[in-house]
Assembly symmetry: D2
Homo-oligomer: 346 residues x 4
């Protein structure tokens, strides 16, 4: 059994980790660290765990949380991970960081977008970007995982087959993304109130969202050239789920069968990617509570553009489920362990 502590266990991604790990056959929760609720039973903060996870929350900075664990998950606001990760590594433990601090490999880019200093360069260098479908081999031996953002997960998985094969005009990429509200976390904000969100739809994060440089960094690595994208996030009046609609111009004429075949082949052995048959397009609800990224493809003969539709549950494949997938890879376990296979529907 892998002994696990979660720092930041009472945010939405934290409690989602608890859900998945509590049902994981090879994991044991040994510590739940929080900033607000130390001393209270976890099921007092999230009563759906009543009778299931009644262990007492501890102060997030209590070193015993790390001592007890083999692996630490960080689900903290950005800016707090750098110091924590350093300490955890010194104590000889591995860490999966669900925050943003280790995702950007350039300290300058991090500073520009997050308005704060990021991790020290030597620490940063140890981090592996934890997108298994792209970086599986590196993840196996990593000590620090930078777990990808939710938007980047849809964008990268949606574009990788095309970019890897150099099939598209890299200047033509438009990523129009829509997310459920849980992505904003449990923090208090007028923008997250039910009465404001219910029955409403809007773009946000304009002129440019922090996930844009993360998307561009990883797409550039895949393509082998510098890529800039148009990216607009929107907020859906629903709790979970994310869909990115991605528009690209191919460099040479294609047709839909070719594109379908390319994606099928690229993701053939991936347990968490489902490429839909021609003419079928993914719904966010079909992956709810699961670690799938579902992909549908379209090609418009009139404009020549390819449209990729890429869908995840933002709290699972976009956060905690992917983190557990990374944990499984790091520990040589079957990659799908712990994650639900079937969405609760409708």
């Amino acid at each position: 059994m892998i002994k696990i502590s979660i720092l930041g266990a009472t945010g939405y991604t934290g409690q989602e980790l608890v859900r998945i790990l509590r049902q994981h056959p090879e994991a044991e929760l040994v510590g739940l660290g929080t900033q607000q609720f130390a001393g209270r039973p976890f099921s007092g903060v999230y009563p759906h765990f009543y009778g299931l996870v009644d262990m007492i929350c501890e102060a997030v900075d209590d070193p015993r949380l790390v001592e007890r664990a083999d692996l630490v998950f960080l689900a903290m606001p950005h800016g707090l991970s750098a110091a924590l990760v350093g300490d955890i590594l010194k104590m000889g433990k591995k860490v999966i960081d669900l925050g943003a601090d280790f995702r950007l490999s350039s300290p300058a880019v991090y500073r520009k977008w997050y308005k704060t200093e990021g991790p020290a360069p030597d620490l940063l260098k140890q981090a592996v970007y934890g997108l298994p479908e792209i970086n599986r081999e590196k993840i196996k031996t990593a000590r620090v995982i930078a777990n990808p953002g939710c938007y980047p997960t849809t964008a990268i998985l949606g574009l990788a087959p095309l970019l890897k094969n150099k099939l598209i005009d890299t200047g033509s990429i438009v990523i129009d993304s829509k997310s459920g509200v849980s992505g904003a976390g449990r923090g208090l904000s007028v923008n997250s109130l039910f009465s404001e969100v219910d029955g409403d739809f809007k773009a946000y994060g304009l002129p440019a969202h922090r996930h844009a440089p993360e998307i561009e960094q990883e797409l550039s690595l895949i393509a082998g050239e510098k890529i800039t994208v148009s990216f607009t996030p929107h907020l859906l009046p629903m709790t979970r789920g994310m869909l990115s609609t991605i528009y690209v111009q191919p460099l040479t004429p294609v047709n839909l069968s070719m594109v379908q075949e390319l994606y099928r082949e690229f993701y053939r052995d991936e347990p968490f990617i489902r490429v839909y048959p021609q003419g079928q397009y993914p719904h966010t609800k079909w992956v709810q509570g699961t670690n799938y990224c579902d992909i549908g493809l379209n090609w418009d003969e009139r404009t020549g553009r390819i449209t990729v539709l890429s869908v995840i549950d933002n709290l699972v494949k976009g956060a905690s489920g992917q983190a557990v997938q990374n944990m499984n890879i790091m520990h040589g376990l079957e990659e799908t362990l712990g994650n639900n296979k079937i969405a609760v529907y409708p």
Copy 2:
């Protein structure tokens, strides 16, 4: 492995059975019968099962569905089960009926509320009302289970401790129930359209709903006297979840601690009942996707009335999860097998 066919697999309770049984370690799905979709892969009707349950649906009246199975689940509109159950029993197979046809032990009462003839009396007599917390012993040896309705499940579990102990004025019972829309099934009706339900709340089924006689029959059995209740169902603008608010007048003065203790004791060994601590009241979302019935208790010193708040997921403990719980009991398996333990939240 128990071989299972589901007749009526493509309604909401049918597909929920598929979800639970597909993940059940001792069950194997051998047939999915439908009225509308024979010849299509199940994942074509419900694409969230894509890659998980791609087996082909068959015509619901194909006898091979029964032949192949050890146990048959019926998830059919009322009025269709009577003939099917007779045939299934003749073929030596057991059956769990999620419909209403075998729930009312009086053919006259059935006729009055359902406007059609019910099962033949000798067939009806074999049916056991499948509420494990009340009828577990009978379920163990039953060949036909009448799986309870969703409203009755909340009402009976909410009132059993008080009635069993003869603590309340049986003429004082008011049951005010609220249900998510999935309880109405996948059939087409203006009343189930998103634009009609979204942002709306209403009572329905007035002057009296078909679940009233089922509630009264079972409460009367528990109390040992004829009970009549006021029961008003309402429709919530949400998909899953049911809450019943139950008001009763005690026969003698009580206080909240006494009532709490009574419920705790009554349900002490029940794996799917959670009696909440004093001052905590259940939310429907805390049991979503699970087989729990969560109960909160209140007592108003000014009126003397007890209020019981009883919560389930209408498609799980109110239908398919309870059906699988019954299956486990009938087959001597651990009662919780197959059902999720933790709600996907938020």
Copy 3:
């Protein structure tokens, strides 16, 4: 033109007042006072008013807001109105208070439920409980209106015809109420977050809610005897709308036609009450954005109980629309002026 200032204009009831009064042919907004947004244009706080109400918000305690006005609406948190009302009256202006401070005629009861001192007795005595269907004559000459709470509005209007005619056992009243989330206001609370409320239903305010004494006070006045009720509020996963399901036991046998006739007669000349025909029951969405209270009636021959279903928009007839109705009465205007007649549906 009546010159109007609103103190507390940027809460939900405040901005609802702005909406109604901006379209009122005899009203002119001369001041918008807020605690948080002084100096900002109102349409900066609520951009749906962009180009329509761009006037600058002022500090809520600026006396010029009152000086400029003929009538002041208070939409403030409880505990703040007492001092304000005294000052406004001294300046010779009338006031309609949408908060709770002047609703309870007993200072002791106020203290018990609100844990703070209420208005001075001589001030309190001047307040008229502003439910036009019950107190129209007194409202005409009032200088201070205590605008009713939303729950009490549904309860009192639902029960008045029965109580006035002494038809029911006053000890038998059960009021099961359900409200949209906007009733909780725009304040920040985990309980009001979209991700918590969406798809969820729960009771709250137990063991007893502050609206209970207000309901009981007014029902007692109507009945001419002391009345105690069972009252349970619930939170609906929707923004606007409130439905109360009220159960009562008649003193003598009745039938539905008698009850229907009683209500039709009682509310015959009321412009904002619609008693539905037999067999039809109100939906919250049918009154959305309007000042109607819609009422449906049921009688269960098996238990003898009458069920009253009473529906309003909590922000209109439950708050701001009723306040404007009161304003119209106080100023001798047509009572319906300013309020929308037709819900925007679906």
Copy 4:
């Protein structure tokens, strides 16, 4: 008073016409034609009109509906308007068609996308595309109005300033649109059920939606050259509201201030267009129930692309409100008459 009949009064756009026209000071409803509900009071089909519009529905093909009227609104499924419009014109009455039959000026294009024969060419020629901001002069004297589709309304109003001024690469247009469910009407379909739509988001209408040729026809007219666009519609889990996110590449370098100024100037005198200040982006809920089209602008210095965010209520500016705006123009009335100015919020 303009005498008005509505053919197809009981669909969502039909009942929205009833709402607006019932409150219009210069309009009188003289006939409500329906395919399903002839003989029933309108308020029996839509009870929110109870006491407000109780007139009896008539058969949609009863010629007396037209005889009585000065102006006929058609809110019928496509394919049915052609014959009706011919008859109405012969009877000397004007007509506003909210359906698709008269929107496409090429019979061949109509046939290709609607798989049926459209109106006769001489009839078709008389129709004016009823987008007031573009075609106001022609609308004044029109006898047949083809009321625009909802998606085209957002796309054309969002792009007209740029195209009219030849500022963009016309091959670069990507229109990513999201609509509330009411756009699908009140017809019965599994895809419109609450349980399917709630908490879900998806693209639909792929590979290409019928509104694409309508968008392209009108954009081409404005630009003076043939335009082809990428257009993907999506379905939002909400009832009303539509947002289009439009991406274009300018032909020469621009900046945001220039673009802002261009839109401000272009729409300066338009009563129903609100161009938002720099840095503010529209929400669908801010225009709910109103006839506004709200526009927000963004420019990404990294890609050089302009992003236009264009928002309407699909049933108002996207259908019935725009139809009444056209009526006002045709009859020399003030253009804003009848339409609500302020959204009911939240």
